[in-house]
Every structure is written in C-alpha cells, then in structure tokens.
C-alpha cells in the first residue's frame, strides 16, 4: 500500500465481514420462522430476529463504508490520514456499541431495553430500521462526526479529487440525514414523512454517491483508464442519482396521509431512479473493456462488474416493478418489497463493500492480489452468493405475486396468515437459496486464507 495509515481500514473490513456472517445467520433463522413460526421461540422471536438481521446489515455496511473510505482517502488525497489513532479508537467505540446493542436486542425484551436506555428522555425507538437505543444512536453520531472530521481534514491537507469530493458529500449526507432519526413527532404522518428522510435519502440518495465513488476508485486502479474519463462518468451518475432520488422520496408518500400530488411526483421521479444504476452498469463494463492494463486482482474486477449489474437489477428493475402508485396500491408491503430489498441491498451495497474488501485486503496484506487459487475460490464465492441472491429474489417475487393475488386482488380475498400458508413452498425454496448464500460467504472468507502467499509483493 502507498500510505501506512491506510492500514486502519483492515480492522473495519474484518468487523464488517464478521457482522455480515451474523446478518446471514439471522437471515436463515428468520427464513425458517416464515415456515416454522415457533422456531427458537421464545428465545428469539420473529420481530427480534428481523431487527437483528436488518440492524446488522446497516452496521456492517457502515463498517465497510468507513473501512473503504479510510483505505481510499489517503491514496486519493496523496497524504497520510489525519489521525490513524482516532480512526482506531472510533473503530472500537463503534464495535463495542454495535455489539452491546445486538446483545441488548437479544437479552431483554425490547420494551425493557427502551426503559433501560432512557427512551423516555427522548423517544426515538420503536421505528423500523431505527430501533437502536438512544445511547447507540448518539454513539453513531459521535463516531460519524469523528470519522468525518478525520477524513475531511485529510482531504483538506491533501489533493482534492472529484472522487474524494463525491465520497465526502455522500458521507456528510449520510451523517446529516441520520439526524432525522432523532426527530419523532407524535403525528404519525409527520413521523413517517421524516423517517424516510433517513431511510430513503440514505439508500436511494447519499449511499449511491458512496457506491459510485468506491466503484470509480477501484475502476481507476484496476483498469488504468484516465481519471478524467472516470470522473466524467461519476459526475453524470451522481447528478442523475440526485435528480431522481431526492424527489423520488415521494414513492413512499403514497399511502401515509400526505397530499395526493405525491402519487404523481413519487411515481414519475422514482420511475427514473433506475437510470443512474443503469449508468453504473454501462460505466463499469465500458471502463473494463477500455482497460489499459491487466490488473492481477481479477476477483475485484469481477465484483466491480457484478455490483453494476446486480444494483441495476435489484435496485433499478425490481424497484421499478412496484414503484408506480397504481401498482404499489396492490403490492405495498408484500413479499415484492422483500424481494426488491434483498437484491437491491446485496447488489448495490453488499457487493460494493465486498469489491472494496476484495481489492484492498490483499494490498493491506502486502501483495497486489491473492494467488490464482485463492482468486478462483473467491470467484466461486461470487457466483454462489450472486446466484443464491437471484434465486432468493425470484422466489420472493413469486411469493409476492401469489400473495397479492390471494390476499388483495382475488374476488374472495384470503386473510394474511392463510395466504402466507399457501405460499410456504416459496419460503422453503428461499431458505435453501439462503443456505447456498451462506456457503458462498464462507468461501469468500476462506479465499483470504487460502494459498495466498505466491503472488509477488505489491
């Protein structure tokens, strides 16, 4: 690696992958609870497992983003990190806070946890994805501010590239929009309205900037295409993301009590949200085709191409499927949403982190790339996880279509639980695809320890 301080990325990457394993294990538990309702009850009820599954996802992605940033920023700014010590300290703060939160979720009932952590001082808990207790939320803010201070200072004292600027905008946006998690008005419409400012503007807004910036960085490094060309693409993608994504928030405002024009605004702008993702796919393939060198890390290039395609399919196509208000009227909150959520998160954010880790870890270990053997194994893990995710998405989509039909469209609509029983077959198939995904993830981890010593040093 070019700068010593880039090494702080390593613990972040390791923690991210560790939490990712946890997320998948809880995913498997959840998947089983869909068909065997009392599995692990009362130790881990469905709602707790779901909370752990989604919270672990968020936390590991954040670890990945921070690790990737710490790796990337010194190289972009061409200077050492402002304070590697602060970065390491924040790593432990975040890890301990994250772990304690998960232990809290599992050890005591949620209501007790809320009481113990001072939720009555400032009520922020009990909302989907923002279930974290107050101290954890405050911890996230402290960690995020220290992290942003650290990387911003680094960029300020070094070179300011377009890629680093886009990344910083994305990260600052991430921190700013998280502040809405502290705003919890009594009016349920307002509550939901601003809740989306965190949730939607993260995943369909600023996170896409982080994604684009990571992708651009790895493509520059692995393809040797001119920075100027790559930055031009990045600008276009970022603009398209912001045009479509910001007003696209409206596609969550169809049925929560907001004025009717949101059905038009939300439908029209969110229908455009696939475009930046399509841009990313074309971008990745175009750059790899125009490559000026053969980078030894073929696995990282595969992840880069993969994230382009899967983000477009998962976030773009599967998002578009149910984004128009007249369609969403029927599909809202069904398994169609779950199908979209799974492939979008994997394709966009899990894969871009795996790409970054795949690119950076060998270099952090003192070599340009892992051995051929190890890369073959990693590519297997890529295909296993990706194909498994395609299956999960397809099975959930099938389940969703059936659910919409049985429960909402048919002349004799069935109650929710009865409809659920009718689609159990798809849940079983989804569970097996989940097992396949776990095997892929285990292979991914194994690949880093396997025959890695042959390639010459970076």
């Amino acid at each position: 690696m070019q700068f010593k301080s880039q090494a702080v990325a390593k613990p972040y990457f390791i923690a991210a992958i560790g939490l990712f394993v946890g997320q998948i294990l809880f995913g498997l538990i959840l998947g089983l609870q869909y068909v065997l309702g009392d599995f692990l009850f009362p130790a881990i009820p469905f709602n707790v497992a779901r909370m752990v599954h989604t919270n672990l996802l968020i936390v590991w992605l954040l670890f990945g983003f921070m690790g990737g940033t710490y790796y990337m920023i010194p190289e972009e700014a061409e200077t050492e990190l402002f304070s590697p010590k602060l970065a390491l300290l924040m790593f432990w703060v975040f890890l301990v806070a994250g772990a304690l939160t998960i232990v809290g979720y599992l050890a005591v009932p949620y209501a007790t946890l809320a009481e113990l952590t001072g939720n009555n001082l400032l009520e922020t808990m009990g909302r989907e994805f923002l279930e974290q207790p107050l101290p954890t939320k405050l911890g996230i803010v402290v960690v995020a501010l220290a992290f942003l201070f650290n990387v911003t200072m680094t960029v300020l004292k070094g070179k300011k590239t377009a890629i680093a600027t886009v990344l910083l905008i994305g990260l600052w946006g991430l921190a700013v929009f998280f502040l809405f998690s502290f705003y919890n008005p009594v009016n349920v419409v307002l509550d939901k309205f601003f809740w989306w400012w965190t949730v939607h503007l993260w995943v369909e807004g600023v996170w896409e900037l982080i994604l684009g910036s990571f992708l651009a960085f790895v493509l520059i490094k692995t393809t040797g295409v001119d920075r100027e060309v790559i930055e031009k693409w990045l600008y276009v993608i970022v603009t398209l993301t912001l045009i479509s994504g910001i007003i696209g928030t409206g596609h969550h405002y169809f049925w929560i009590g907001t004025p009717e024009y949101w059905q038009w605004w939300g439908s029209i702008f969110s229908a455009l949200e696939p475009i930046p993702f399509f841009g990313m796919t074309v971008f990745a393939f175009n750059m790899v085709n125009r490559r000026r060198r053969e980078h030894p890390n073929k696995a990282a290039v595969l992840w880069a191409l993969g994230t382009g395609v899967m983000a477009f399919l998962g976030a773009g196509v599967w998002g578009f499927l149910h984004t128009l208000a007249p369609v969403n009227y029927y599909t809202h909150g069904t398994q169609i949403t779950a199908a979209h959520g799974h492939m979008a998160f994997y394709g966009a954010y899990a894969m871009v982190n795996l790409m970054m880790i795949s690119y950076a870890m060998p270099i952090l270990n003192g070599r340009a790339a892992n051995s051929n053997k190890s890369q073959v194994l990693e590519m297997w893990s890529f295909w296993l996880m990706t194909v498994a995710m395609v299956f999960i998405t397809l099975f959930l989509t099938a389940a969703g279509i059936l659910q919409v039909w049985l429960q909402r469209v048919s002349d004799t609509p069935l109650p929710f639980m009865v409809a659920q029983e009718k689609i159990a077959l798809f849940y079983w198939m989804r569970e097996w695809a989940g097992v396949m995904f776990l095997i892929g993830l285990i292979l991914y981890i194994t690949s880093f320890f396997y025959g890695g010593q042959e390639e010459k040093a970076a």
């Binding site: 603009t239 398209l240 024009y261 605004w265 455009l272």
Partner: protein
Amino acid sequence: MCAMTTAALIPPETPQKRLPGDLAIWFFILAEMLAFAVFFASYAFARARNVEMFNLYQQTLDRNAGALNTFLLITGSWFVVRAVQAAHRNDQKAIPRNILLGFLCGGGFLVVKVFEYAAKFGAGISMSTNTFYMFYISLTFFHFMHVILGMVILTILWVQARKGVYGSHDAHGLESGAAYWHMVDLLWIILFPLVYVMR
C-alpha cells in the same frame, strides 16, 4: 468479409461530424429530457381521463404570459448560439456580450413567471386544488428550476468568456453549457402549447 459488409452498409462519416460540447452533458440532457417526457405523457394521459376539468381550468391560465416567455427563451437561446458562433470566429468581445443577453432573457422569463405564479397563488390555487393545477404547478415549477440552473451555467460561461477562455481553439465548455440552455428552451416549446393552449 464481415467487416466489409458492415463497412458497405454504413457510409463512412465525414470527419467534420462531431458532437458539440461534452459527451457527459449530453447524457445529462437526455436524462433530463426523459424526466420531462414522462411528465408530459403523464399530463396528457391524466387529461384524457378528465378532459372537461382540464379544458375548464386551462382557460384560467395566462396565455399571453406563456407566449411572451416562449419569445424570451427562444431569443435567449438565439443569443447563446451567437455566442458560440462568435467563439468559433474568435470574436472575443461578442462572446460574453451574447451570453449576458441570453442570461437577461432568462431573467425576463423568471420575472414573468413570478407574476404569473403570484396571480395564481393569490387566487388561492395550490397543488392540491385539482389534478390540472397540480400538473400546471409541478411542470412549470420544475421547468422554472431548470431555467435557474441554466442561468447559473450561463453565469459561469460569462465569467470564463470574459477571461478569454473560449475561442476557435477551444469552445468545448461553452458548447456544453449552451446545449443545456437550448434544452431548457426545447422543453418549454413543448410545455407551452401542451399546458396553455392545446384543447
């Protein structure tokens, strides 16, 4: 063999064929135009389901203001074309002058529009009044924001032009900004008849 047939099918492009401005701005323009295309089509099909209401409220719009604004944008575009042509013949004085005139046309558009909005909002009309007004306000306001962005771009071009950045050696940036400004014009050329006149 295969290459030869392809070559025979597509006549070779003359070397002068080039896209003015930057490729990136054209992608951006296309995306913006797609957004408006969806909006225009939504308007037209929403109208088809509610013709009487749309026809009734369309008559409350200020057609004169709309037409005046069309003149302003067309003329603003024309000035910017003249700025680009001035750059190609290296007429350093004419470049910033024409950009400024284009900018003033944009400013005129905004003034007319603000008066128009003031009259409508003053009458208590809002996005929630009915579907027609929802579209009228959304479409024109979305376009309004694009005029502002276009004027920001013209300001940058003006500053650069005064520094003498553009000329026959390099008009790349000027052409890129000009293309965006023309798009703002093009969108209004569809919007005006669609929302103000066609019935």
